[in-house]
Symmetry: C2
Subunit: 211 residues, 2 copies
DNA sequence: ACAAAAGTGTTAAGGCTACACCCATGA
DNA sequence: TCATGGGTGTAGCCTTAACACTTTTGT
């Protein structure tokens, strides 16, 4: 089947900045290796994503692409915006709609088997293909901006967690130390106790969930 | 010239929520009338915009479309995001990248001659084509969110203005009354006096500009 | 008993809101 | 002198940031 138009058309893709918490709670980014020798950035790492289908929503396209490329199901996504400079893709005009997506720890553990998709700690990223570094910046900024004002971290965390866990996550994402007492006051409105406690080596922690 | 692809491609457009201040400082939206009888929403009003060219940035496309459709030059624009639900355009898959744009009062006065482009007070809008009402909402929300924290209103206003002028503008945009003294304190960091005063019927007002 | 993480209060400073009166000018 | 919009200060409240010690548990 051929499709013929009287004007050239741009390609439209969706790409996602997918964050997850890996071992030790390090903030990690999901990347896919570009495996087609003839294509630009062969063997480089890139944000997962791909071309949209004609009858899908943008979000639907992203869900499908991530399932195909990485096996992941995205429980949360929000649009970051469109990146469309001519020249951002050497193959021609490709406009991408970028998303921020967050997945729970279980998804990060499971995703490690595919050789084409890997989690990288944010502090140890390989060079990224295309303008994906700029998209990543936008995603990280969005995540940081939402942390203290909305329960955006919910999809990153397990169902229940201690406030110590939560502070470590926030601290890692913001890349700065946080005062324990002030932190607990600030996120107080975002969480509620589950009634459970976590037994461990030391004093048991009260467990919380996002409201 | 024909362009043939092995997959169907979406069209990409840019659209702008263009705000300006009309007579009496009413917040107004620039709309264009859809004039092609065979096209959807014929005779309806729509956000200005159009198809991108292959070698332009998205912002460049928007500037060109607005020049062509309305004669306006946009001194300020920021991206709102992509709107791409299948079905948002009856003709087929059309993904639009929406922008918020702001123009100075002089542009609002001048733009009134073209029958195809008109300024409408925000309180008296006609029904909008496509999903443009949703895009408008996003634009208005963005403008409101920026008012108190950034000098985003700068491109809406003339070079210099009194604090009374400014308060009326803010009050119109936020659609709520503002306390005079608190308002002046809050925007104090965003403006600086020009050294001029405006003579008028009453006590002359000190004139300010955005920093 | 000790090591390790959990949990908790207070103070000072700055920002926000509500509120009412005097000022400068032209007519 | 009056009408009109321009201009100003303060008190109460809330939020934020800085800061150190006690508690609970397992070993």
């Amino acid at each position: 089947m051929k499709y013929t138009y009287s004007f050239p058309k741009a390609d439209v893709t969706v790409d996602a900045v997918v964050f997850g918490l890996g071992v030790e709670g390090v903030l990690s980014l999901l990347l896919v290796r570009r495996g087609r020798p003839k294509e630009p950035f062969f063997d480089h790492w890139a944000l997962p994503g791909g071309f949209i289908d004609m009858d899908e929503t943008l979000e639907g396209s992203l869900l499908r692409e991530l399932r195909e490329e990485t096996g992941l199901i995205l429980p949360y996504m929000e649009q970051l915006g469109a990146f469309g400079d001519p020249g951002r893709d050497p193959r021609g005009r490709v406009i991408t709609i970028a998303y921020l997506a967050l997945v729970p720890p279980a998804a990060v553990k499971g995703g490690d088997d595919a050789a084409e998709a890997r989690w990288f700690p944010l502090q140890a990223l390989p060079p990224l293909a295309f303008d994906h570094a700029a998209i990543l910046e936008a995603g990280l900024a969005r995540l940081r901006a939402g942390l203290m004002v909305s329960p955006i971290a919910r999809p990153l965390l397990p169902e229940s967690f201690s406030l110590g866990d939560l502070q470590r996550v926030y601290s890692a994402i913001l890349d700065q130390p946080l005062d324990k007492r002030n932190f607990r006051r600030r996120i107080n409105d975002l969480v509620e106790p589950t009634g459970e406690r976590r037994e461990g080596k030391h004093r048991p922690a009260i467990l919380y969930r996002f409201r």
